[in-house]
Every structure is written in C-alpha cells, then in structure tokens.
C-alpha cells in the first residue's frame, strides 16, 4: 500500500470522508439555455477568496494609523516585491466582486430563483451583497489618500442626515466629529475583522442553503420540462460542473492579472484633513447612483427636506430587496409582473444615475 493510500485510509477511518462528500457527489446542476448564469455565484466566491488571500498579504505590511497608513501603502507599492501586483489585484478583485455579486443578484431575481423554498437562500445572498458593499466602503479609506479621505467624509455625512439618530450614527462611524485617525482604526477593524467574520459565516450559510435546496431552474424552463420531460438535462456538480467553474475561475484570474498590470491601482496624494476637498470628488462606482441622487434631488419634496427623503429611500430599498419573495406573494396575482417591473426600473435607475454621476464634472 502506497503512503498516500495509507494516509487516505487513516483519515477515512476517523472522518468517513465518503459519507461527508456524498451530498456533494450526488448534487446535480440543471443544464438549459440559461445555465451560464449559474457561474456568477461561484465567480463571486472566487473573487471573495482572492480578496482574503491578497488581503492577508497586504496585512503583513499595512499599518492602520493616520501617520503611517499612506506611507505603508506606498511601501507596499514601491518597495515590497510584487506588492504593487497584490495591491492592484486586491483593488480590482474588489470591484469585480461587487460587479459579479450584483449580476448574480439580478440574474437570480429575474429568474425568480427566490421562490419557495429558497427564500432564505435569497435573504442570505442579499445580506452577502450588503457585506460586500461594506467591504468596499471600509476598504476605500485605508490607503488614507485625499480622494478616499474626502469621499469617506461625504459618505459618513449621509447617515448623519437621519433625524434623531443620524448624528449618533455618524459619530459612531467616524469615532468623533470628523474623519480622523480614529475613523481609520474603526474602518480597518471593520474591514479585516468584523466584516470578514460575518461574510464568511453568511457565505457558508448561503452555500449550505444552495446545497440543501439545489439549483433553481427558471419557471419557463421548468414548465417546458414538465411538457417535454425528455428535454430535461443535468450534469453532476462534481466533477463536471466544478471543473467548468474552475476553468471560469482561471479566466477570471487572467482578467484580474491583465487589469492589475495594465491599470495598476493609483495611490494619489496623502490625505490632508486641513486641506480643501479636491474638485469633482466622487465615491466608488457602486455608490455613484446614490451620490448622484443626493446631488440631483430637489431641496424640498412635499415640504420635507429632499436629502432626507433620498436617504430614507436608500433605507427602504434594502428592506424591499430582502423582502422580495414575500412582496411578490403580498402583491397577489400581478405580483410577478410588478416585482419584475420594479427590478427593471431599479436596474435602469442604478445604471442611468451611475452613468450621469460618472460623466458629471
């Protein structure tokens, strides 16, 4: 008996790997004309893993204080071997993760994969999206450059507009009245401790739920298969789908490397809390729609402060998104059409406002 077989036997005797891996080996993935959307979930998971790996490497050199943060990132970029590559991959992977998580969410929503019994899978997925956005917001400040500083200042001012509790939230986020080194420490702790712990837990739950309820098939395909059972096709998750997904991950890695090399992440100028905000300051692209909304919203809407209405709207949207499966049922017969119309409008709003925000001077 070879040494590898001996080790395998030793582990099998104790953990019963076959029994543990049985659900994974039994799992199948439906094959139809829309099944390429199934890769988006795995792609998001890949970017998440890249973030963990590159984030750990950056942690070796990053120093989370107002006096050292910028210099440490500068050192990573200019002096540490392949530091620039690790940092650029981390930055690009963050952007691609947000993009893929949004694409995954909308594909799931349009194919109504949140239908019973997958409501909890949907909710856990939406919560992962919020955590990913939290990663983006908290990580943006960490290089402590001018752009990040003032974008964070504007970003933390937004919850400050909420009546009664707004100011307390703003001070809690900033660790004081203004964005300072205390804010940087908080955002760092959030970015590398709290959010990863929550995200890993939520991703595990999401994957467990996907495993339990299986992969959803769009309603139209489901009906087609009922009428023509011979058309129903599926492949085994392992190894058939997994190997396809793996090929997809490698392609994603190639895209990441190309972007990181050709368009390395800029560092900019060190933040100066006493300096004036540079003109045309904007947040990251995934917050542009909200930013542009607050810029364009009228000062008064039905006698209420326009900005406040906008912020309350931003508060309602996530709740509506989480409750989407229940909303569809509550709306009755036309629920499906109404939810779909809402999703189309929501997607259009995000795209148009982001574009206006991007083009605005």
């Amino acid at each position: 008996m070879s040494a590898t077989a001996k080790v395998q036997n030793w582990i099998d005797e104790r953990l019963d790997v076959e029994e543990l891996s049985a659900p994974l080996l039994k799992k199948t993935v439906p094959v139809h004309r829309h099944s390429y959307w199934y890769f988006l979930g795995g792609l998001t998971l890949f970017f998440f893993m890249v973030q963990i790996a590159t984030g750990l490497l950056l942690l070796l050199y990053y120093r989370p204080s107002a006096g050292e943060a910028y210099e440490s990132v500068q050192r990573i970029t200019n002096q540490v071997h392949f530091g620039w590559l690790v940092r650029s991959i981390h930055a690009w992977s963050a952007n691609l993760m947000v993009l893929s998580v949004f694409a995954h969410l909308f594909s799931v929503a349009f194919y109504r994969a949140y239908r019973k019994p997958r409501e909890l899978t949907w909710i856990s997925g939406v919560l992962v999206l919020f955590l990913v956005l939290g990663f983006g917001f908290s990580g943006y400040l960490l290089p402590w450059n001018t752009r990040a500083y003032f974008a964070t200042k504007v970003g933390t001012e937004v919850p400050g507009q909420i009546p009664i509790i707004g100011r307390a939230i703003m001070i809690l986020m900033r660790g004081g009245e203004d964005v300072t080194g205390a804010t940087l420490s908080r955002f760092f702790a959030l970015h590398v401790c709290l959010l990863p712990a929550l995200a890993i837990g939520m991703v595990m739950l999401h994957l467990a739920l996907v495993q339990k309820f299986g992969t959803s098939v769009p309603a139209s395909i489901e009906n087609e298969w009922k009428s023509y059972p011979s058309r129903q096709k599926e492949i085994r998750f392992f190894p058939n789908f997994f190997l396809r997904e793996l090929a997809g991950w490698y392609i994603a890695l190639a895209v990441l490397v190309i972007l990181a090399v050709l368009f390395p992440s800029e560092l900019g100028i060190k933040a100066d809390p006493f300096g004036s905000a540079p003109p045309g300051i904007k947040p990251e692209w995934y917050f542009l729609a909200q930013f542009q909304t607050l810029r364009m919203i009228p000062s008064k809407i039905l006698g209420i402060d326009g900005e406040l209405v906008g912020i309350l709207g931003f508060g309602v949207a996530p709740v509506a998104l989480i409750g989407l499966p229940f909303l569809e049922n509550m709306l009755g017969k036309r629920g499906v059409q109404l939810v779909r119309a809402g999703l189309v409008l929501g997607l259009l709003y995000l795209c148009v406002m982001s574009l206006i925000g991007y083009l605005a001077k």
Binding site: Q74, N240, L243, I251, I258, L262, S265
Partner: protein, 402 residues
C-alpha cells in the same frame, strides 16, 4: 407740582430737540451733500456716538473741540485738517474709541507734499476729507471705504489723473493708467491680494511723498527683500540712477519673464549692454541657463505625468521636482547680482533634482514595460490550464462520466 410739571415739559422739549438735530441737519443737507442712507448708517463716527453737532457746532455753544468750526454751517476747507486732527491727533481722546489706533496722521500729513503745500496756502491739495470723505466716513478696513486698499488708487487718481487739475504742479498724470496695467494692480484686483502694493504702499498715505531716487530700492525692498539684497551686491547698484525702476519701471511694472533678461528684443539688459560686452554675454548666458532648467523641469514633469497616467507611483519624485521649481525661482532672484556664477549655483542645484526626478520617472516607465512583457508568463500558464481543463472535461464526458 408746577415745578415738577415744568421740568417734565422741559425734558420732553429737550429730548425732542436732541432727536431732531441730526434729522433736521440731515434733511437740510440731504440734497446738497447727497448722503445716502447706507452711508449715514455706515459712518464710523455715528457708530461712536457722534452727530452733526460734533463737527459743525460753534465753539462757544457746543464742542470743546470745535476750534475749527466757525458756526453751525459748513466747515471751511482750510480748517478741515485741524478739525479732524483735534480728535485724531489726541491720543487720550482716541484711546477711548480704539486704543490701537494711530494718532500721528496730522503730523505726518504736515510733512507730506500735500501738507507742505497746504501750509503755504495751496488749498487745491488734498485734505483729510478729499480722501476719506466728509460724511458717511467708513473705516479703512471697509471695502467700500475710498481708502480701503482696493480703492486707494482710484481715490488718488481723482486728482492725479486729472491733467487740468495737475497742470499747475507740472507732474505726470499717467500713473494710474500705468499702474492699472501693472503686475501689482493685477494681484490686487484679480487675485484680491490686499498685501499687493497700491499708491500708498510706496508713497505713504498721510506722509505722502514721491520716493526719492535713492529711496526707490528701499521702497521695493520692503517686499522684495532678497532681490534688493542681491541687487546691493551687483555692479548695477552704483550705476542705476533709478534703482529698481531702471529695469522694472515705476508704475507700469510688468511680470518679469525670463525674456526680460538677455539680449533679445524687449530684454532690459539690451537697453544698456551690447551683445559682445561682458555684461551682454553674461546676460545671454543667464537667460539661456534659466531657459534650459525650465525646459528640463517641463520634460521631467512630462515623464513623471506619463508614468503617473499609467498608474505608476511617482509621487515622491513629483514632490521632489517641485523643489527644482523652487531652485529656478531662487535663480531668478539671485540674477539681481548680475553674476553668472551665482545664478548657476542655484540652477545647478535645480538641475540635480531634475535629473533625479527624470531618472525616477524613466525607471517607472521601464518598470511598466517590464511588467507588460512579464504579463505573458502567467497568461500563458493560465491559458494552458484552461485548455487542459476543457480537453479533460470533453474527454471525461466522452468516456461516459457525465
């Protein structure tokens, strides 16, 4: 009871009269004096509790300070300075209004050209009210005041740009038009830089005199200290009769470019030096060396900007390059020594920084190229893995593992 009633009546009438005096005065003079409500409201004296009677009341009846006031009527022009001075030259009296306010305006005025001529009976020269106004006087810090730095030149030109008015004095009247084309006026009006010089900065305000030939450099050096220091070390010091004004002019001072030095057309040096004399050669060399460093800085900046555009971090080099610009500025100041070696000293310091920055920029661009070339290694490996996976999946599914 009767006494009490009379006292009340008398108090009431007195109050009415007191309240009426400023109003009646304002009404009587409203048309001829043309005092706007805003002016009356902004008047610094009314803020301090003074009214018409403070200046206009007769000596016998009202103000102990009214030596200049002959009656309740208008104040005679020849008495204006004395009247103003009766308070403004009184340190004890002024202290109660503003302890830090100067009280030497009147004695200074008496030493000025205006004051001397006035003492000799020339009533055409400026008196206090000509510059500060008579009614609605605002503090000099008020941007609407005629003596606020932004308005001083306009106030002076009312007389000094009037050829008829100035005819008797035989002095030029183009100072204002020249000044409005100067770098100083631009700084004041366009940039709102209140520290930029206006008429009073060089000529003085109350003790206004034209700076004498020997004093010009002293006047300029109050701001341009280093230039003056270097000029004192130059061979020009004893030769330039008008000091700084010999090259820069007096009122129409333009922003000096590097073309100002050298032997080309329009260069100041060319007006005295020949191209072949020592001074001309030095001027040409200084001009060329300045231009060379400026070009080098621009070239290095372009290299660094290009590297930055491609996402390379060259922030340290960019910061360093700014100090090369500082060296160039230093050289532009040290050229007042008119010594090539002294100018080159500053320029060489700048050149070293420029070379270092350009090297950093070129290294960043080379590194970028290196990375782009190296990109094919991981991409080829990834492509090989993906192709292998595709082949493996096909093979696996063809063998019936599907």
């Amino acid at each position: 009871m009767r006494v009490k009633f009379n006292f009340r009546l008398a108090s009431f009438i007195t109050a009415l009269v007191l309240l009426a005096i400023p109003r009646v005065s304002a009404e009587v003079h409203s048309n001829p004096l043309n005092i706007s409500a805003a002016d009356a409201k902004a008047d610094v004296h009314s803020h301090k509790g003074m009214n018409c009677a403070t200046c206009h009341a007769s000596r016998e009846t009202q103000s102990p300070k009214s030596a200049a006031a002959t009656s309740a009527g208008p104040i005679r022009r020849e008495k204006v300075n004395q009247l103003c001075g009766s308070c403004h030259a009184d340190a004890v009296r002024m202290k109660q209004f503003n302890p830090s306010m100067r009280t030497d305006q009147l004695p200074k005025y008496q030493t000025s050209v205006h004051g001397i001529k006035f003492a000799h009976g020339d009533s055409k020269v400026a008196v206090c009210t000509d510059c500060h106004g008579a009614h609605g006087i605002r503090p000099a810090s008020d941007p609407l005041s005629p003596v606020h730095p932004l308005n001083v030149a306009t106030t002076c030109q009312r007389c000094h740009a009037d050829a008829d008015y100035m005819k008797a004095y035989g002095i030029k009247t183009d100072q204002f038009s020249e000044y409005t084309n100067s770098v100083h006026h631009k700084a004041m009006k366009d940039r709102g830089d209140l520290s930029a010089p206006t008429c009073s900065t060089c000529h003085g305000s109350h003790g206004a005199v034209p700076p004498g030939v020997n004093a010009v450099a002293n006047v300029c050096s109050t701001c341009h200290m280093m230039q003056a220091k270097f000029f004192d070390q130059s061979p020009h010091k004893d030769l330039f009769a008008d000091g700084c004004a010999t090259c820069h002019g007096s009122h129409a001072i333009k922003h000096p470019t590097d073309d100002f030095i050298g032997m080309s057309a329009g260069a100041a040096c060319a007006s005295c030096h020949g191209a072949d004399d020592e001074g001309g050669k030095a001027a040409t060399a200084i001009h060329q060396h300045l231009a060379a460093l400026e070009n080098d800085i621009a070239h290095s900046k372009a290299v660094l900007d290009r590297a930055e555009h491609f996402g390379m971090d060259v922030s340290d080099a960019q910061v360093e390059l700014k100090s090369a610009g500082d060296a160039l500025t230093k050289a532009r100041v040290s050229l007042h020594t008119a010594q090539l070696s002294r100018v080159d000293e500053d320029l060489q310091a700048g050149s070293k920084i420029v070379a270092k920055s350009r090297t950093a920029g070129e290294a960043a661009l080379a590194e970028r190229q290196h990375r782009r070339r190296g990109l094919w290694i991981p991409l080829s490996a990834i492509l090989a893995v993906v192709l292998s996976l595709v082949v493996y999946i096909r093979e696996m599914e063809r063998n019936g593992s599907r």
